[in-house]
């Protein structure tokens, strides 16, 4: 079987398994939410309303149905692409997700770019003079970013740049005095499309702190990974062979070693961005970034079952899709990969 056919077979298998995986995840979420104490009626009415009113609201929200009926309805709707309605405000879950997802993607992509920039720069400095002072500092930086609690560093950065220096806004996605441009929901792209420089500037300013903080925290993974991979690759036979052929050191690093050293970085970047879309909660909370993770947290607090289920399904689908895409990309770049 040639490589293209085996790759195709692998892709089809992964694609075929994806719905099964999503079904397992969504069923687990459905079940866990119902097992958790409290339901949306308790979240909406709190410790008020008599039992008749509570029951009426329960019927209105469809929570009086037997669990199996609720589950079958949910799966049936899911198969038809319907994520249901939020119990909190009766709005379509798909619409709510469509409004918040661009904010999360914008933050995730910007954070990864910053993380790559810092991570590769720090990793490179280590490679330039292995075991030197800068290398040691880079390694400490890498370990430090793992260890820093995200909420703590986010608050410190917020206090420094927003409160003490006053350079950047405290939170949100856009200045309150500006109107969010209509379009895709990606404010940066929409403002570029509209040629609205004021909105673009404001949205970039609002993005710097959350993306910078997240990028800084993630950069350690990239710097450490690059450093370790580079070291390994520079000691391989083919690099030694290249050196013995008299190829310049810079050319060896950039044309022979770097592509191989970047492969694991690509995998990490892909998986990180996928998880960031649903998981940058502490950063979103600290910087009041209206993303999906924040929506998920609020939905859990409100016991908004369809909303939680919808977000989990969307994030899971993104993780599955991105990881498949990364696998295929690596297979295309690296001919040594076999499936």
């Amino acid at each position: 079987m040639n490589r293209t056919r085996s790759l195709l077979k692998y892709s089809i298998t992964r694609l075929a398994l994806a719905p099964i995986m999503l079904w397992v995840i969504s069923s687990l979420v459905f079940l866990l939410l119902r097992v958790a104490p409290g339901d949306p009626v308790d979240a909406i009415l709190g410790n008020r309303a008599d039992s008749a009113a509570r029951e009426a609201l329960r019927i209105k929200l469809g929570l009086n149905e037997p669990l199996i009926n609720q589950y079958l309805n949910y799966i049936n709707n899911l198969m038809h692409g319907d994520l249901g309605q939020s119990l909190n405000n009766q709005e379509s879950v798909s619409k709510i997700i469509a409004k918040t997802l661009p904010a999360s993607i914008e933050l995730g992509v910007a954070a990864i770019l910053i993380a790559l920039l810092i991570g590769i720069a720090v990793g490179f400095t280590g490679i330039a003079k292995p075991e030197g002072k800068t290398d040691l500092a880079g390694r400490l930086f890498g370990i430090g970013t793992y260890a820093l609690p995200p909420f703590w560093i986010a608050m410190l950065i917020q206090i420094l740049f927003s409160v003490i220096l006053g350079w950047l806004p405290i939170g949100g996605r856009l200045s309150p005095t500006l109107i969010t441009p209509q379009g895709s929901g990606f404010i940066i792209l929409d403002s570029i499309k509209d040629g609205n420089l004021i909105v673009l500037t404001s949205s970039l300013k609002h993005l710097i702190l959350p993306a910078g903080t997240l990028g800084l925290l993630l950069s350690g993974i990239f710097s450490r990974s690059l450093r370790v991979n580079f070291e390994k690759i520079l000691n391989t036979n083919y690099i030694e062979a290249a050196e013995s052929r008299g190829i310049k050191r810079n050319n060896i690093i950039f044309y022979h070693a770097l592509p191989n050293a970047l492969l694991p970085i690509l995998t990490i970047a892909g998986l990180t961005i996928a998880s960031l879309i649903g998981g940058a909660l502490l950063i979103e909370v600290t910087f009041s970034w209206p993303g999906l993770a924040l929506g998920l947290q609020e939905a859990i607090n409100q016991r908004d079952y369809p909303m939680v289920q919808g977000i989990v399904v969307v994030v899971s689908s993104l993780v599955v899709s991105i990881s498949l895409f990364i696998d295929l990309l690596i297979a295309c770049i690296d001919p040594r990969i076999k499936y």
């Binding site: 979240a43 009415l45 405000n89 409160v163 806004p169 405290i170 109107i179 950039f254 909370v285």
Partner: protein
């Protein structure tokens, strides 16, 4: 190595450029002269029928009017109603003459059919429709500007109910497609502002040119949501926002802002306290079924100390179940802190002298002030009554607490209450009402839902009677209810919390109405006012 250096150089230049870009002043662009207000929480809906959160209620109050409003002295003030409601002889019909020449934001006229449409819609789909469903049976519109409300039973507390934001009239023509569903992202009502822009995190309001009463004093309002107390605090301190509403701000930040306002760096406005914090006892439990023990616990609570430790004195100690603005009691009914009497009562019930009463106290783990209250009371008991009483703490998430209250799981639990409308009945009934009482134990009613399981026939009779009376007679009956509850002690009130708002010094002082809502239309720049 040159290439590596080049890469590093580019990276450094990028970071420098980013910093330079960020330094081009982050001061908010206030080109549109709108006042920016921040608070914690998303506005998930602007539909009056859906509103059940303080923030939604606050914004809807600026976008719409109600039939009546409670003024800052606690008196009922007609708004869309022309005069005070008139009650029929049998007490079952209320007639309300309505104001003429009032317009909705879509240009249509407000009249009795619009009011009827709005009340019926709330009855049909409202999230909190239980507050009227058992009382209002029908709405009639005999004249264009006369509304008749038919009641199932005489109910004097209905006056307060008519101030409820949930009964804000909406334009029937605009809502024709939303008779049986919510319209979350828009509102067409009669208020001093109309909606300019909506997203759950950011809302813009512009003054309504055809407003029937005094027009808004400012050019408009921007509302933004900031998620953490520290973000809100920092935003007002660095002038990134004009006004901060205190709904969810931490007590430490509240104190610091209070001090800033005393120094003249900010202007503080304080509204009437509508929220009360209390401890509910499960009176059918083996531990707390003795009135003397509940009395002893009540005497053991040092409200002043707790308020000082938890909120730096910004929460007012409370020994009544109704907020002070509702003015039903000039004297406090619940026992005042007195450890000597507490010890005496514990001894009389067989405790102290090497026998320790152990009470499990539950608090809502997601409410920081509850946890601090619980911890402070625990420590205070260790100081005062360590040989008689021991309090063990148990933090449970609020939604779970609400679910399990009526299951009788919690011996003692810290809760809070805000009446659905500003009337003593909206506090006393939900906390004490009981439909079925047997041996002072409530088997069915609000007391079961509230987790106290306490019933008292005399109290119940007074509570029911109060609904048939008006004026001082009604107040006397409600006072009697409080007196009986203060003796039975199913609940210990702890404190009440005044809503506060802080404004930048260039703005006028924030003002609240009698329902604890910030008057957005009264905020203006000092210079504009002059």
């Amino acid at each position: 190595m040159k290439l590596i250096n080049l890469f590093l150089e580019i990276t450094l230049k990028f970071i420098t450029l980013a910093l330079l870009f960020s330094q081009t002043s982050c001061t908010q662009q206030k080109s549109n002269n709108l006042i920016t207000i921040a608070s914690k929480g998303k506005i998930e809906s602007l539909d009056p029928a859906q509103a059940n959160k303080l923030l939604s209620i606050q914004l809807i109050s600026a976008l719409g009017d109600t039939l009546y409003r409670v003024d800052s002295n606690g008196k009922l003030e007609p708004r869309l109603a022309k005069e005070r409601p008139k009650l029929s002889n049998d007490g079952k019909t209320i007639s309300i003459p309505l104001r003429e020449n009032v317009f909705f934001h879509d240009g249509t006229h407000f009249d009795s059919s619009a009011m009827s449409f709005s009340i019926k819609r709330f009855k049909e789909i409202g999230t909190l429709n239980y507050i009227i469903n058992d009382r209002i049976i029908d709405i009639e519109t005999p004249e264009k500007f006369l509304l008749l409300i038919k009641l199932s039973r005489p109910s004097s507390s209905i006056n307060g109910l008519l101030t409820s934001i949930n009964l804000t009239p909406i334009s029937p023509s605009y809502y024709s497609e939303y008779k049986d569903k919510f319209l979350n992202n828009n509102i067409i009502s009669t208020g001093p502002y109309k909606l300019e822009n909506y997203s759950p995190e950011r809302i813009s309001l512009k003054p309504f040119e055809k407003y029937w009463d005094q027009k808004a004093l400012n050019s408009g309002i921007n509302y933004i949501n900031l998620n953490t107390s520290s973000s809100l605090f920092s935003a007002i301190k660095t002038s990134q926002i004009d006004i901060l509403l205190s709904n969810s701000i931490e007590d430490g930040h509240r104190l610091s802002l209070n001090k800033s306002s005393q120094k003249g760096l900010l202007k503080e406005g304080k509204g009437p306290a509508m929220q009360i914090g209390y401890i509910a006892f499960r009176t059918n439990s083996e531990l707390l079924n003795k009135q003397k023990i509940r009395q002893a616990l009540s005497y053991s609570l040092d409200r002043e100390l707790i308020s000082k430790q938890v909120s730096y004195g910004l929460r007012s100690p409370l020994r009544s179940l109704t907020p002070p603005i509702l003015q039903i009691n000039s004297t406090h009914q619940w026992p005042k802190y007195n450890p000597k009497i507490a010890r005496k009562l514990f001894k009389e019930t067989g405790y102290c002298n090497n026998k320790l009463l152990s009470i499990p106290l539950t608090f809502r783990s997601n409410v920081p002030s509850d946890k601090l209250l619980a911890l402070t009371w625990q420590e205070q008991i260790k100081r005062d009554l360590s040989d008689c009483l021991e309090i063990s703490l148990n933090g449970v998430e609020s939604t779970t607490v609400y679910k399990q209250l009526s299951d009788g799981i919690y011996e003692a639990v810290i809760l809070e209450w805000t009446g659905d409308y500003p009337d003593p009945y909206a506090y006393l009934s939900p906390l004490l009402d009981c439909k079925k009482i047997k041996n002072n134990i409530c088997e069915e009613g609000e007391a079961v839902i509230g987790g106290t399981f306490w019933g008292n026939q005399e109290l119940q009779d007074s509570l029911d009677k109060s609904e048939l009376l008006v004026g001082d007679e009604r107040l006397n009956e409600l006072r009697k209810v409080e007196t009986i509850a203060a003796k039975g002690l199913p609940i210990i009130p702890v404190w009440n919390l005044n809503p506060r708002a802080w404004a930048q010094p260039n703005l006028t002082q924030p003002k609240f109405d009698g329902s604890g809502r910030l008057r957005l239309d009264k905020i203006t720049n000092n210079n504009e006012q002059n």
